[in-house]
């Protein structure tokens, strides 16, 4: 069973390239389990880099690298409070991520509406 068909892809190859360029980074950012765990922590509260690092077994440098990837793609923002830097979840970017699934859901919803029509006449 297909979710879509490749005709759509060829028909909109240009758009695909554009969206690949702008979106790829976010999906790569969330592909990593440690980075998803960091996002989950920040969803609850703002945290300093030390506080985040303490939650993981990996080295501080490794955690720091993950944080910088999340910061670069805009999923995580930072703010200074006194001497400390606090990281927070960038909620609007997270919404973008969810919005990404919406047209996909719509494709299925339309297909299933056609199935409803068919079932009504079966």
């Amino acid at each position: 069973m297909q979710l879509y068909d490749c005709g759509f892809i060829f028909a909109t190859i240009q758009l695909q390239i554009m969206t690949l360029v702008t979106r790829r980074d976010i999906f790569q950012a969330i592909a990593d389990p440690t980075r998803r765990a960091i996002l989950a922590l920040l969803a609850v509260q703002m945290m300093t880099p030390n506080a985040i690092a303490e939650k993981f077994d990996s080295s501080r440098q490794a955690v720091s690298k993950h944080i910088s990837i999340l910061t670069e793609c805009g999923l995580v923002g930072q703010q200074q409070a006194g001497r400390e830097i606090y990281y927070h979840l960038n909620v609007s970017e997270m919404k973008t991520l969810d919005a990404w699934l919406e047209p996909f859901r719509q494709l299925w919803a339309d297909r299933f509406d056609q199935l409803d029509d068919l079932l009504n006449n079966l």
Binding site: M1, Q2, L3, Y4, D5, C6, G7, F8, I9, F10, A11, T12, L15, Q16, T19, L20, R23, R24, F27, I30, A31, R36, W100, L101, E102, P103, F104, R105, Q106, L107, W108, A109, D110, R111, F112, D113, Q114, L115, D116, D117, L118, L119, N120, L122
Partner: protein
């Protein structure tokens, strides 16, 4: 009967699986038929204005469905669905790929693994489709294509509206 049933999609945290859930106002036997019989599948599978055209359909464990999505201009894109397990009016599993007209897989397109469950729900049926991918890259690409699909389809619907 109304067709206001909502299509829900849940993304698995692993990034490799989507679960699509949808209720239908028809008994399991009918819904199962619509998902597994060639002539019926062709009536709903392709989002308008595309048509689904079957070359081969052998719905059984080890069988496959080879079909083309046909554009209004007659452009054909081939897809193949290999059926792995079939438990009549209950569930089936399959792997879907993009291919040429002989079913030879196209490079660079991710395979999708399907588990479709049909559950009686009062007088109706709930269909739960677990769609998994071999990698998160595959997942990204599918979601990406879904986006393109939705976009193109919206354009197609607009064309139809404007032609009225």
């Amino acid at each position: 009967m109304s067709s206001t049933n909502e299509t829900k999609i849940v993304k698995d945290p692993s990034g490799k699986k989507l679960t699509v859930t949808r209720a239908f106002n028809a008994p399991v036997a009918k819904v199962w038929q619509a998902w597994t019989e060639r002539a019926l599948l062709e009536k709903w599978w392709a989002p308008k204005p595309w048509l689904a055209e079957t070359k081969t359909m052998d719905f059984k464990a080890g069988g496959f469905w080879l079909y083309a999505m046909v554009s209004p201009e007659g452009e054909r894109h081939w897809n193949k669905v290999d059926f792995h397990t079939v438990d009549a009016e209950n569930s089936f599993t399959a792997t879907a790929i993009f291919c040429d007209e002989n079913g030879k897989p196209l490079e660079d397109f991710p395979a999708m693994h399907w588990k479709n469950q049909f559950t009686a729900d009062g007088a109706g049926t709930t269909v739960t489709s677990e769609i998994s991918f071999d990698s998160t890259t595959g997942f990204d690409k599918i979601v990406q294509m879904g986006f393109e699909g939705g976009f193109t389809m919206a354009q197609g619907n607009l064309d139809e509206l404007l032609a009225e």
